[in-house]
């Protein structure tokens, strides 16, 4: 585990982008990345788009989404892939054959097809203030789970409903790579920004491995890099 503390959100975005570009350049053969949607990566994708757009030397890079909330009616692609297209794939002009969609239909094959493609070189993860990552929320998956379907109870439906303009589209389930799918990647990159993440980062970095903080298990990975801005790092013990 290596903790990189930077000044602010802009630096965080820059360092995360540098790290992903480093992964892209690490070899000439196929490189597999699983990347996150959400708000934390917005600044990073802006920087990444500028570096990746129209660069055919990155055609060896393949992308995976690691969770998905489908539309109930199936009228369109799910929430996560939609966000990734808007944030990154579309503005960066990523070719469709470099995008490997996880959805409600194919999730049972996710781990298998990633392994067949050589495994994930890196996975970029955000973290929620409740300690969730991907769709691994407290009370949903077990540490031993691979990619799985999570049935939504009413509380969960309430939680994900804001993703849908038409709330009738809120689905009864979502899918997510599980803890073991994530831990199988060769490099975990987790980033967090802002005071709203300070408390969970302290619990995550200094606390125990516990189901109550799903991300806590990630500390056991042999190659985990954490990027924090000063605010997110503000509650950490000073002596390393």
């Amino acid at each position: 585990m290596k903790i990189i503390t930077v000044k602010n959100y802009d630096e965080l975005s820059k360092v995360a982008a540098q790290m992903l570009i480093g992964e892209m350049f690490q070899r000439h053969e196929r490189v597999n990345l699983a990347i996150t949607a959400g708000t934390t990566p917005i600044g990073m994708y802006e920087k990444l788009v500028a570096e990746v757009k129209n660069k055919d030397y990155f055609s060896n890079v393949h992308y995976y989404n690691f969770d998905e909330i489908p539309y109930k009616s199936g009228i369109r692609e799910g929430v996560t892939i939609g966000d990734l297209r808007e944030l990154y794939f579309d503005p960066a002009g990523i070719s469709e054959d470099q995008i490997h969609i996880l959805d409600g239909e194919n999730y049972e094959k996710q781990d298998e097809r990633i392994e067949a493609a050589g495994g994930l070189d890196a996975i970029l993860l955000g973290i929620g203030s409740d300690g969730h990552y991907c769709g691994n929320l407290p009370g949903t998956t077990k540490f031993t789970d691979f990619t799985t379907k999570v049935i939504c109870d009413e509380a969960m439906k309430e939680r994900i409903a804001p993703h849908f303009e038409d709330r009738a589209e809120t689905p009864d389930f979502y899918v997510t790579m599980g803890p073991r799918s994530v831990m199988a990647a060769r490099h975990l990159i987790l980033f967090a920004s802002g005071t709203k993440k300070a408390k969970i980062m302290k619990a995550f970095i200094e606390g125990a491995i516990t189901d109550e903080i799903p991300a806590s298990i990630l500390k056991m990975h042999p190659h985990l890099t954490i990027i924090l801005d000063e605010e997110a790092a503000s509650l950490l013990d000073k002596e390393k």
Copy 2:
């Protein structure tokens, strides 16, 4: 996680030896291995000695012990390193500068010096029928621990006393690489033989991550290979 099931103890010993030799050959620069003492590896070391003895092309291989039970008086080296010398280092003629001893004095530097040496390429682990590995016994270490000192209560002293001819040498503590030290290795190899290990292997492979089975955390490693003979594998669910 990859499970390799072999017929019997002899095959188990052979495959474990092949795997370690493979690690030794994987590059010309320094290779770092942490290896286990105990009864499971006896057959493997016999085979390994035959392949390693007087082979100067393995002079790039460095060895670490991952736990140690010291003699209370300090009159001689600890139990683990003593066993490793008898089982392997002495008969194989391993040079002293390839042996990196963990003991009660230097344990706080173990993780640091391993990282400075480039990290462990592989660690070979046995497993106890109580789910322990290295000195990580139920109730001793937490998943978040690095190399640490374990203070022995009376029950633990009873347990380790048989290692000492003169029971007055039973120490008040032992040292062990902790779960995070072990998980930091690039390749975990865990092997188990015999019906006496069948129950724990079922719990380990099919059960939850739990402090009650310290080894259970190892399932989360991105590169864990498990070698079992048919007896140790006899209780596993047949469908993969």
Copy 3:
């Protein structure tokens, strides 16, 4: 470059087998090996068959031949793949989907398909007393060549004719991975046995990079391991 000198042909065969098995175990995902036919590997394949046969834990290993002399009429598979089947694939029970045949039809795609499969982890090479390896004989390929077709002049036809019971089957060309295809592998393993190889090994190891000794270029690879028995090493300068 690392030179491993062993006592005799039997040890050479054993060490080469250990090295290949090490490659097979190095990761759980697909492993790609290009292996040699000929006389040098006969002893190695005997040992390898015993370790690989009926071992489904090696189902992640894929095999490539690196050159081929086709039958002129095309009535059967080429000489190299025929030899590999006889020496190794058949007795070891290697599944057909793990065998990736190079032949006179598909050679132009060889480099591309290997790269798409993740590249070669290792290539095992013999060396001729004229310094050739694969089908890179003096006067046939240039150092800059990738996989290519070599048109046979009369002298070359004479040379390869003994491979064919019916000499009318001697082809007008053969195909081979070129120097750059070979150098693209992550690990080159070259072995040689017997006094008949002593002179070329001295020229190869101590001499210049020259077209006259096609194998000489292999010394420039960042990860070349050479295995020699005492006879093949007998002319080398003693002071390393």
Copy 4:
């Protein structure tokens, strides 16, 4: 070999900086880089300084110079390390213990100490219009050379004299990592900018392996990345 063609010098500098930063981030343990002085990297170092200065998360990165022209009197450090300090080490605030100086005294140990440190992860190379790289000029080193001392004839002295304000300081020799030292790195990065490099890049990329173009041997490396701006790439055959 992968060729990355970018628009202009500024993009070339940016991509080279991204690639080096990628190497720095590739693992938490020690990373070893050999880097070039000269004019091509000036723009890159400007960018790199901004990203590396005061970033203690790059304290795992170690730097090597790959050639050196010493001052005859020895009154100060050599030309190359002096340039690297001015261009990069000083403005980036690189700590002295991360800088590993090659000079006229220690060159015979260069290959050994690099191997003992784990080998070079990457080496960044410029190329001269005569095809030289590092101190490997036509007529000086052989492909088989490791780090070596090159005795300067009068023509060479003329050539290197402009490096010295006081021409009496022009030395009788210089030292350089040889072709085999360079080829031992895990990743070769070669960059070239401007029309003055177009002719040599065509000869290098499309031509033969020849002593007359020392850099030509680098094409044989399994992991060579070439970065060119449009001018340097202007004479290349269009069809890949």
